[in-house]
Amino acid sequence: MNKFLWPLIGFAVLVLLLAVGLNLNPRDVPSPLVGKPAPIFSLPQIDAPGQFFSPRDMQGKVWLLNVWSSWCVSCRQEHPVLVELAKTKTVPLIGLNYKEIRGDGGIDTDKIDPATEQKQAIARAGGWLAKHGNPYTLSVLDLDGRVGIDYGVYGVPETYVIDKTGIIRMKHTGPISPDVFSGKILPLIMELSK
């Protein structure tokens, strides 16, 4: 009996480790930005390209920053959740439109100038919002993805919960499911809004 006990325990431990390891999501890399101030930027708004938005404008409010793009397939998956959230008017939802033109592999951006790129991006992103519904308080254009780098974006969609003092409190990578929203994001928003 004793002869088989230890190998059996060893095997059980191995199975347990593999079970845990295989169920972890490799995309879920903890962000070092949680607990740090949201990086400052100033980007043109999709609805009013002459006006710029900066996270500083949101001081004193709990808000969500959602990184999206019209070419992003999973963004469409989470979109209904965002539209529902917008209806409840719980918190402002700011959209960061990530590399609308350049991220879409099919377009050779070397051939278009920045002004044209912005115009095309507004047309495409605006069209997408008109078609699927616009849950955003406002959306800004990050044409070259430079702001995305500052936020450590590596897979759209990504969502950040930012508190009243401008500190990032949570980052969610990948589409927000209704469960993630009601189980993780909403309780945090409620707590931060107190």
């Binding site: 230890w6 490799p26 890399v29 903890p30 962000s31 070092p32 930005l33 590399k99 350049r102 991220g103 592999g105 070259d144 993805g145 780098i149 500052d150 936020y151 450590g152 590596y154 897979g155």
Partner: protein, 154 residues
């Protein structure tokens, strides 16, 4: 004259076409070398088993451009690594720093090996003891003697 101009125009066109194609490589070779050395140390977060220097992912491309810019801005290698870690976490480094959260990563395999070695030595010792502790009884002894006798006569 007209023909000369045409040839000149064609030559310039060829030059322009060439310059365009070579653009990514044409940048300073020193910068390029440093960029490759740094990005070899970094993981591409899109294709997680590829280094930043070897990945074709679009984000990897953007980050390589970013590293080039940082090099040209006069940043040191350590500062550039810090820049990446501040945004993407320790996970982007192929050689993560030694700290509380990475202790298991650094010493786990060694500890497991030591444990295995300890178990093996203990097992071997115990087995050795069991074998030497079992003396032959009289009958077995005479049997062994007979066998040995046989061997000697051959």
């Amino acid at each position: 004259m007209k023909r000369g101009l045409l040839i000149l125009a064609l030559a310039f066109a060829a030059l322009a076409a060439h310059a365009k194609e070579a653009a990514p490589m044409a940048v300073d070779e020193v910068v390029e070398k440093r960029m490759v050395a740094i990005s070899d140390e970094l993981r591409c977060l899109v294709c997680q088993n590829e280094s930043l220097s070897g990945s074709h992912a679009e984000l990897a491309n953007d980050l390589r451009t970013e590293i080039r810019t940082l090099i040209k801005d006069g940043k040191s290698d350590a500062e550039i690594l810090d820049f990446m870690v501040a945004r993407y976490g320790d996970f982007v480094r192929y050689r993560p720093p030694l700290k509380g959260t990475t202790l298991l990563l650094w010493f786990g395999p060694g500890a497991l090996f030591a444990l295995g070695l300890f178990a093996l030595i203990r097992y071997l010792r115990r087995r050795n003891a069991e074998i030497s502790d079992a003396p032959l009884n009289a009958e077995e002894q005479s049997q062994a003697d007979a066998l040995l006798q046989n061997e000697d006569e051959k």
